[in-house]
């Protein structure tokens, strides 16, 4: 490991590295394999106001270089989360981003008000299921309004829309950063039943297969709004994958499905990222952010 400075500032959240977990792919269980305090930040499973039993199984199916899933946001509800997971994370001083989702603006507001007074919430990630700019803006507005100024709001944009338009709507309504992407709409057919494999029918594709798609989302948003912090999520499994996200314009990256295959991946990818930066004489992770947009033709590093 070199003396590369990995620290980044994500919309006011000081993180020792750009490597975060992604909502829905990490729980307390990860602590058995990885030091959660060493992460840039830990993003919780998405929490909803009421407990949610989730989608019927099967919920996860493997495809070439990918995972198609439909978990249906299974979670113990806000009250359960505030009495179990959040205190556990706060006690260990894990930088915690709470992923929250709601079915209505009133619910988004209540989630935000109750998270505003809960100790140990370092940022809130709004899990958006809509790919409509107007709805995106309204949800972000309500959450931002009811949270203290010092708690950044990350907008995880809904899949399958015009990402730049969604990002602009989120930022115009107070999002401090945007997260792209969620999984991409997908389907798998079971060869025996001749029906969709997943219990819920359709699902979302994640894993290495979507890395180029997620990179494009990051690239497009950074190109249109270079001042907006972007978090890249989708198929990162190596240090260079993480660096690619930074070069395309991301300030931080989230690890999702790679943690299912390798629960210790965060440590490895953080080390590899430092090596990838050092190898190219980049002194810090922050120096790499958006560099691909400025890199002159014909250069090699």
């Amino acid at each position: 490991m070199s003396d590369v400075d990995l620290a980044v500032d994500l919309a006011g959240l000081a993180m020792p590295t750009p490597v975060m977990t992604a909502a829905g792919c990490a729980g307390r269980e990860l602590a058995a394999y990885s030091d959660l305090t060493a992460l840039g930040a830990f993003v919780t499973r998405t929490v909803t106001l009421d407990a949610c039993a989730g989608s019927p199984p099967p919920r996860v199916v493997e495809t070439p270089s990918g995972v198609v899933s439909a978990v249906g946001l299974q979670n113990p509800g806000l009250q359960g989360f505030l009495t179990t997971d959040l205190p556990w994370l706060a006690q260990r001083r894990v930088r915690t981003v709470v992923s929250a989702s709601a079915g209505s603006l009133a619910e988004y507001g209540e989630l935000a008000r109750r998270l505003a007074t809960a100790p140990g919430v370092d940022a809130v990630e709004v899990h958006l299921e809509v790919s409509d700019a107007h709805q995106t803006g309204k949800a972000v507005h309500v959450v931002r309004r009811d949270l203290p100024v010092g708690v950044p709001v990350l907008a995880k944009l809904g899949a399958g829309g015009d990402v730049v338009g969604l990002a602009r709507a989120a930022v115009d309504n107070g999002a401090d950063a945007v997260v792209v992407s969620q999984g991409f709409p997908a389907l798998v057919i079971d060869p025996r039943t001749l029906r969709p494999t997943l219990g819920a029918g359709p699902g979302l594709l994640s894993g290495p297969a979507v890395l180029p798609l997620a990179l494009r989302c990051v690239w497009d948003i950074h190109e249109a709004m270079p001042e907006v912090p972007v978090v890249g999520a989708g198929g990162v499994r190596t240090g260079f994958d993480a660096l690619s996200m930074l070069l395309a314009g991301a300030t931080a990256v989230q690890l999702g499905s790679v943690l299912l295959r390798d629960p210790a991946a965060a440590d490895r990818i953080t080390r590899e990222l430092a090596d990838e930066l050092a190898r190219r004489d980049l002194k810090s992770a922050a120096d790499a952010v958006g560099l691909a947009h400025q890199q002159p033709e014909g250069t090699r590093r």
Partner: protein
């Protein structure tokens, strides 16, 4: 490199394939996995990342542990028995000795062991019965009387019938085609066996239909049942919430719990077998 959790928790190690041998219709894998064997308890499982570093395989494979030896010429070894069912298990079956393997384990909750020396019947269907053998050893150490009931579609699909004769008081074998033992399935033969040996506890591993039948027979006889469900492809560590099934808790409330983390062993009378594959409308949080 190895990542160590608490003394009793799982570890992630880079092990290697020691051998893969054919065992009837199945493959018997022995791997070097230091640290896993020391923590092993019967009923727990390991997960493997298959296909090598450039693999398009994104999920881990869960395998119940057939045997774990903490010490040996190669360090701690773990043995698993599996059937070739897809590209991933075919890769594993063909993996030459020395192939590096990313192993996480032991995972999940083990079979609960009785405090008293009771009479136990161990029911296995095909290679799913592999984890019953270390269980039989532990039960005998506790002076329990151990009987085994093993089934398979055909003679080659039976697993461990010979070994079972050494490890237990009595063995009953069933095959669907009647080629050896009783004709039929293990569930057909179980009620008579439970009555004959006056069983107190039934331990089982197999597909859901078999486990359901075992749970029912145990209940009818008045015995406890401990059933180990199959953990589907996923993470095995509890992260992905992919392997959930409806289970009734101590408080009478049904929750969608993870086969990998809250299981794979459940009390047979707690699992809502008829509702597998669904989220029952009275499960906690179901709308």
């Amino acid at each position: 490199m190895s990542t160590t959790a608490a003394e009793t928790g799982p570890v992630q190690v880079t092990g290697e394939v020691l051998s893969v041998k054919k065992a009837g219709a199945y493959q018997h894998l022995t791997m070097v996995a230091p640290g896993v064997a020391e923590r092993f308890r019967p009923g727990t499982f390991v997960t493997l990342a298959v296909g090598g570093p450039l693999s398009a395989t994104t999920l881990r494979r869960s395998l119940p542990v057939h045997r774990a030896r903490p010490t040996g010429a190669y360090g701690g070894t773990v043995e698993c028995v599996f059937a070739v069912e897809d590209a991933a298990t075919a890769w594993l079956a063909a993996a030459p000795a020395g192939t590096p393997l990313d192993v996480v384990g032991p995972l999940g909750r083990p079979y609960a062991l009785p405090k008293e020396p009771v009479t136990c019947v161990l029911v296995g269907d095909g290679c799913a019965g592999a984890p019953l053998f270390p269980l039989a050893e532990r039960l005998r150490e506790r002076s329990c009387v151990v009987h085994m009931l093993l089934g398979g579609a055909t003679e080659t699909a039976l697993f461990g019938a010979l070994e079972a004769r050494r490890a237990t008081r009595g063995v009953v074998v069933t095959t669907a085609d009647g080629s050896v033992g009783l004709r039929g399935g293990v569930v057909d033969a179980l009620p008579d066996l439970l009555t004959r040996v006056q069983a107190d506890v039934v331990y089982a591993a197999g597909p859901p239909a078999v486990l359901h039948g075992v749970a029912r027979a145990a209940e009818a006889h008045g015995a406890w049942s401990q059933t180990a469900v199959d953990v589907p492809d996923g993470c095995g560590t509890g992260l992905c919430l992919g392997c959930v099934l409806p289970v009734v808790g101590e408080d009478g409330v049904t929750r969608m719990v993870r086969a990998c983390a809250e299981g794979p062993v459940f009390r047979g009378d707690r699992v809502r077998w008829d509702d597998l594959g669904t989220v029952p409308s009275d499960a906690r949080g179901a709308s």
